[in-house]
């Protein structure tokens, strides 16, 4: 989000907003998370029950029992556990290593330090409350303020990049009997394989919730400008409110 002015004198200046690494990772993620979610539901359909603890099968109490997700939701559309797994396990390592690379690169190029990290005044209760009120009134920042992430945006991006995405990768690995032997601490960390499976499922839907809010915000903030800024990097700064 380096705000480098390209046309400094126009009324609605166009600035370079998103870095190439951010744009590439964003669209790669859009594709991979889509494949992972739909193939994941295909895998879930093989046993649509969730448990807490190390074990859990048909005779054990489930905390959630669902019908199979319909063909609108799953990859492939008709139930095929083998193929769902092939999609899922092909996309997962690409997704995991891309996240790792993006995290490291974002620390190195100071994206985290400059754009995502909270500043002292971000966290003042009055400021947070103001930000919540602004969101509720759909009063989006204009002018130079539109080029910085606000505190709720920072919190959700940090939450997704540094908490939810690593969590879904690690709980996914915890379900692997091979990784169970390689890294026994994983199952300890999440309270057993079936707990990890439950957390994996919950996190997937938390990411769907993020996705829906994210899409809603893009639509409300000006979809053309927002999407263009994520494709070409160029962003038209909204005119300052009088």
């Amino acid at each position: 989000m380096t705000a480098m002015k390209l046309m400094p004198d126009s009324a609605d200046p166009i600035v370079k907003r998103h870095r190439l690494s951010t744009r590439m990772w964003h669209w790669l993620n859009a594709l991979l998370l889509y494949i992972l979610f739909t193939s994941g539901l295909g895998i879930f359909n093989a046993h649509p029950r969730l448990y807490w603890g190390a074990y859990g099968a048909n005779f054990d109490p489930a905390w959630l029992e669902l019908d199979r997700f319909g063909s609108w939701w799953t990859l492939p559309a008709t139930y095929n556990l083998a193929l769902s797994r092939h999609w899922h396990l092909t996309a997962a390592p690409i997704f995991a290593f891309a996240l790792l690379a993006y995290m490291l690169w974002s620390v190195v190029n100071r994206h985290v330090g400059r754009d995502l990290a909270f500043r002292r005044d971000d966290l003042a209760p009055r400021h947070i409350w103001q930000d919540i009120k602004d969101h509720a009134r759909l009063r989006f920042p204009t002018g130079a303020a539109a080029l910085r992430y606000n505190v709720l945006q920072k919190a959700s991006y940090i939450g997704v990049i540094f908490i939810a995405l690593p969590l879904i990768i690690l709980t996914g690995l915890t379900m692997s009997p091979g990784m169970n032997a390689a890294w026994p601490w994983l199952a300890e960390l999440f309270g057993g394989r079936q707990s990890a499976r439950s957390i994996h499922f919950i996190t997937a839907f938390a990411l769907v919730a993020f996705f829906l809010v994210h899409i809603l915000m893009v639509l409300l903030a000006g979809p053309v400008n927002e999407v263009r800024s994520m494709i070409t990097g160029r962003y038209k700064v909204p005119e300052e409110r009088p």
């Binding site: 093989a46 074990y55 990859l75 095929n80 092909t90 990784m179 169970n180 390689a182």
Partner: protein, 248 residues
């Protein structure tokens, strides 16, 4: 918003159909099916050769150990050996070994045992913890004298999966000589039930449930799995497209 939602749903459906079409393309299919090689390489690089699967305390055992797959082979041959309490059953060990063996259940029971409380992870997602007792496969392979050119161990089973397709599975020597890889004849301190694979089943604890072949009849050492069944190394691998390496 309704229009946007409809557009989103339509887009999602179109994308899913697109993905399904892609998966029928030979190159895409091969790429999807080869992720297994990455996972095998990554997991084997991360773990020590003898890294153990987690073992549990007796109070962590599942109240009911779910049986899956074939519940009873029900073939005339299997019924015959079942009627005698498996007294006439013999485990053949042959293929690329210097001393082929034929072992009875009582012979197996006199060999040194290993007991382990481990978690059985089904490819479908459920898990059950049980206490297994059996003979380390390594003991049998050492007694038979594995030949230099043996690369895989194939497990031939008594259950027919329909249309004369017997269940079989295979593992490589890395897992065959692993200390937790045993030929189990007891589950939770009782002789193995028919539903759980009587009289003998394989436990290969760092892989998923479909590798744990039940109703073992014959163990064959081979240099390649290409000549067995349809050549993918197991019944589910041949007929359903499951991964041969089931560590994930």
């Amino acid at each position: 918003m309704i229009v946007a939602r409809r557009a989103l749903l339509l887009g999602a459906t179109a994308a899913l159909t697109g993905c399904d079409r892609l998966a029928r393309n030979e190159t895409v299919r091969n790429a999807l099916f080869s992720a297994e090689n990455f996972h095998r390489w990554a997991q084997r690089s991360l773990m020590a050769r003898e890294a153990l699967a987690q073992e549990f305390r007796p109070d962590q055992i599942s109240p009911v150990f779910r049986a899956n797959g074939t519940a009873n082979p029900n073939t005339p041959d299997y019924k015959a050996i079942w009627r005698t309490g498996f007294a006439d059953w013999r485990l053949r060990v042959d293929g690329k070994v210097s001393r082929p063996l034929s072992l009875s259940l009582s012979q197996l029971r006199t060999l040194p045992h290993r007991e382990q409380i481990t978690r059985h992870d089904c490819v479908e997602g459920w898990s059950a913890i049980g206490k297994w007792r059996g003979v380390p496969l390594r003991t049998i392979l050492d007694a038979a004298g594995l030949r230099q050119d043996a690369r895989y161990i194939v497990f031939h089973c008594a259950d027919d999966m329909g249309g004369g397709r017997p269940y079989y599975e295979s593992i490589d020597l890395n897992d065959a000589f692993h200390p937790q890889t045993i030929l189990a004849f007891a589950l939770n301190d009782r002789p193995l039930s028919v539903a759980n694979g009587a009289p003998l089943r394989l436990r290969v604890e760092r892989q998923l449930g479909y590798k744990q072949a039940k109703y073992l009849m014959r163990i064959e050492a081979v240099d390649s799995i290409a000549q067995i069944g349809r050549g993918k190394g197991g019944f589910w691998e041949d007929y359903a497209g499951y991964d041969w390496y089931a560590g994930i």
